[in-house]
């Protein structure tokens, strides 16, 4: 794994970028619908539970052996039958999530920039690119995330600054006791983003140079995500009000459409929407890679075995293009109606994510601890 190694900070950078995909899809709109005016507090509200879960995850990662990723850890801790079942579940979930990312990304392009187009073209192109990403070494994905982080966060920062003059206090305040329960419900999307991104990184954690665990690093990372989510929510809810933000499918991009820069530049939403291809690419590639990794493990292959180059399909790597075809096909067939996609985006995917994160990690940890003693 020496060649594959990267630092924990680099890996967490990848986590930040892949968190941007659900952040812009779910966060401003769904939290506004759930929490109303208190939407901007939900990312902070999700922190205690998110940190507790990350603490558990960091303890679980300490149980790893050198080079182990989450699937091998599950297989070792749970035994042959249960372990294989869990790895199969993880693999299928990863492939399903990759397909959903392709479908949701295509829908975003159709809904904002190419209204007369069909999502399948975008799903197909992104599927091909995700295949290239999954065929490459995972270190490449991590490096690409490092390149993209300043660009994407810089753009988000600029957009936030230009959105500031349009913020209205009465869209954000007062927060009353009556808002607490809806605000608690509104923490679910944030929790989904924190835990989903962290769990995805567990598929690559075997390549990190540092000792396992690292709760402090995880906590600092999740605080960073929390700041991004809060800024997003402040900008959208503060500009439009929770009532309007909740009715919009992509309120962040609707906000970008209204921004004018120095009274000369406007309508930059096409550029911003297109830039979000990058997090989509990384997210889809990572989950495609994770899916094939689990399947190869189930087939008794060694998915960590070195390969000559990207086009080397030996050692079970032929599964990668096969999985890419399956994922792209699924993305094309998935949720043909907008309402169905909305249900997938707001209910099914977050529910599966949260269920997986909040059952698998505690179960693995408890089993691991018992085996240790």
């Amino acid at each position: 794994m020496g060649e594959e190694s990267y630092s924990r900070t680099q890996l967490l950078t990848l986590g930040t970028i892949i968190a941007l995909t659900p952040a812009l899809r779910l966060f401003p709109g769904q939290t506004a619908a759930l929490a109303g005016r208190a939407a901007w507090l939900t990312a902070v509200g999700a922190l205690p539970l998110g940190l507790a879960w990350l603490f558990l995850l960091s303890r679980l990662l300490r149980l790893r052996q050198a080079g182990e990723n989450l699937p091998e850890l599950a297989l070792r801790l749970l035994g042959k039958a249960a372990g294989k079942a869990v790895v199969a579940g993880l693999g299928l979930w990863a492939l399903l999530y990759a397909a959903f990312v392709l479908r949701a990304g295509a829908d975003r392009l159709v809904g904002t920039v190419y209204p007369h187009s069909s999502p399948w073209v975008f799903a197909l192109v992104m599927g091909a690119l995700a295949l290239a990403g999954a065929l490459a070494r995972p270190r490449s994905l991590v490096r690409m995330a490092r390149l993209l982080r300043p660009l994407l966060l810089g753009i988000l920062g600029v957009l936030f600054v230009f959105a500031l003059p349009g913020l209205r206090l009465d869209n954000l305040w007062p927060i009353t006791v009556g808002d607490l329960l809806p605000a608690l419900k509104g923490t679910l999307p944030a929790l989904d983003i924190y835990s989903g991104a962290a769990l995805a990184l567990c598929f690559l954690v075997g390549g990190t140079k540092e000792t396992p665990g690292g709760f402090r690093a995880l906590a600092a990372w999740v605080l960073g995500i929390c700041v991004i989510l809060t800024a997003l929510s402040l900008a959208v809810t503060g500009s439009f009000g929770a009532e309007l933000a909740a009715t919009l499918a992509r309120p962040f991009f609707a906000l970008v459409r209204t921004l004018v820069f120095f009274r000369t530049v406007e309508r930059v939403e096409a550029l911003v929407v297109t830039l979000w291809i990058f997090p989509d690419f990384l997210c889809a590639s990572l989950f495609l890679w994770a899916g094939q990794y689990c399947l190869r493990l189930l087939l008794g292959q060694n998915p960590r075995a070195p390969h000559r180059d990207s086009l080397d399909l030996g050692g079970g790597r032929w599964l990668i293009p096969l999985c890419a075809v399956a994922v792209t096909g699924l993305a094309i067939l998935l949720a043909p109606q907008p309402q169905q996609l909305e249900r997938w985006s707001r209910q099914l995917i977050p529910a599966i994510n949260l269920a997986l994160c909040f059952t698998l990690v505690p179960v693995l940890y408890i089993v691991g601890r018992k085996k240790q003693t």
Binding site: V113, H116, D170, G241, R267, T274
Partner: protein
């Protein structure tokens, strides 16, 4: 990975330019674009009358188009078919004018169209054509190579400073309508422009009779439908009650019975709800007015006593404006001033416990109003 990165960058460039049918549909020849800047919407036999206008240029006047259809999309399709030589480009529409009848019938469909449209901006300013149609405004306002777009540029600049009306973005109208059940939209009147020009230059009647458009206060929307207009005075009071006071002139009688013209230059209000044993009993409004004396038609001595009397008259006048506006809100049971937010901020728990929606409580509220005015300056003349 470098290859993937390069591929991705290429994709970013390729997708908007060429390829599949849908993406290709976004490609437009710049020379053939007709950039639409103003859209008008009217009710027409149960459907929609759509009117569009582009800017005028030195070579040619503005292009104006109109068509009817069962929906905005159907009307737009008809317009596209009839203007085949030019491609309608609607991403830079800067204002939406709405005819009075359309507004009376309800704006929900129009607002939902704006929300859905990938071309229109959510902060698109809305205007209701008072006593007229949007088609009339789009097709006939302007003259001498200029059209509604150029006139609206002037209106936009004027609204930025004036205190008797204001621009209302669609997003604000949608939000207020949803939150308070009522909203304000800038009202626009279209009048025969030759009236003004004739009196200015004394020349004969203009054969084409172009129209001029000017803002005239606000239209009140309740449950998405136009229910009344505010007078100029009431619209000035809206500025005080929403703490967005712009420049507006007020005419008063001075202590000698002559006319004095004051220009409002600033001010605002502080609104406090009055709770009696947990029940919302009324509203206490404190207004602060700053004004400048700009013109007098009296012959008396303009000493300190004169200015004090004028200040008192101004306070009385502004109190009348504010009372009239709040009374209009109470009579309509429409919280177009957003008073509910102020009441909620003052005591969120008590607001949540209100037995009825705030708008239903409006008619029963007592109003306690105090106005304090201050004459900032009297321009370049020593009055004392």
């Amino acid at each position: 990975m470098r290859t993937v990165f390069t591929l991705l960058l290429c994709l970013l460039l390729i997708l908007p330019l060429a390829g599949q049918r849908g993406a290709h549909a976004n490609f437009r020849e710049l020379e053939q674009l007709l950039v639409i800047r103003t859209m008008g919407l009217d009710e027409f036999r149960g459907g929609v009358q759509l009117s569009l206008a582009s800017s005028g240029s030195s070579e040619r006047g503005p292009k104006r188009l109109q068509a009817s259809g069962t929906s905005v999309t159907a009307a737009m399709d008809r317009l596209s078919s009839f203007s085949y030589e030019e491609d309608l480009f609607c991403a830079h529409i800067e204002q939406l004018l709405i005819g009075e009848k359309e507004a009376e019938a309800g704006l929900d469909a129009a607002l939902a169209y704006i929300e859905r449209s990938p071309e229109l901006r959510l902060d698109l300013p809305l205007y209701i054509i008072k006593g007229g149609t949007a088609t009339d405004a789009v097709m006939n306002v302007g003259g001498g190579g200029q059209g509604i777009c150029e006139v609206m540029e002037a209106v936009h600049l004027s609204l930025a400073r004036r205190g008797d009306s204001g621009e209302t973005p669609a997003s604000q109208v949608i939000r207020d309508n949803e939150r308070y059940g009522a909203a304000l939209i800038c009202a626009l009147v279209c009048r025969d422009a030759s009236e003004t020009e004739q009196s200015a230059d004394g020349s004969g009647e203009d054969a084409t009779k172009p129209l001029a458009a000017a803002p005239e206060g606000y239209a009140v929307l309740r449950d998405g439908k136009l229910c009344r207009y505010l007078t100029k005075e009431q619209s000035i009071a809206v500025g005080f009650l929403k703490n967005r006071v712009g420049v507006a002139e007020v005419q008063l009688r001075d202590k000698y019975g002559g006319m004095a013209v004051l220009e409002l230059t600033g001010g605002g209000s502080r609104i406090e709800p009055v709770w009696t044993e947990g029940v919302l009993a009324g509203l206490k409004i404190q207004c602060d007015v700053r004004a400048a004396l700009v013109e007098t038609r009296g012959s008396g001595i303009q000493d300190e006593a004169y200015l004090d009397a004028l200040t008192a008259a101004l306070e009385e006048q502004v109190a009348r404006f504010v009372t009239s506006t709040v009374e209009a809100s109470k009579a309509l049971e429409a919280d177009f001033l957003g008073l509910a937010a102020i009441v909620e901020r003052s005591d969120p728990a008590a607001y949540q416990a209100l037995p009825q929606p705030f708008s239903a409580q409006l008619p029963g509220l007592e109003l306690e109003l105090t106005v304090s005015a201050r004459l900032n300056h009297a321009n370049d003349r020593k009055d004392v």
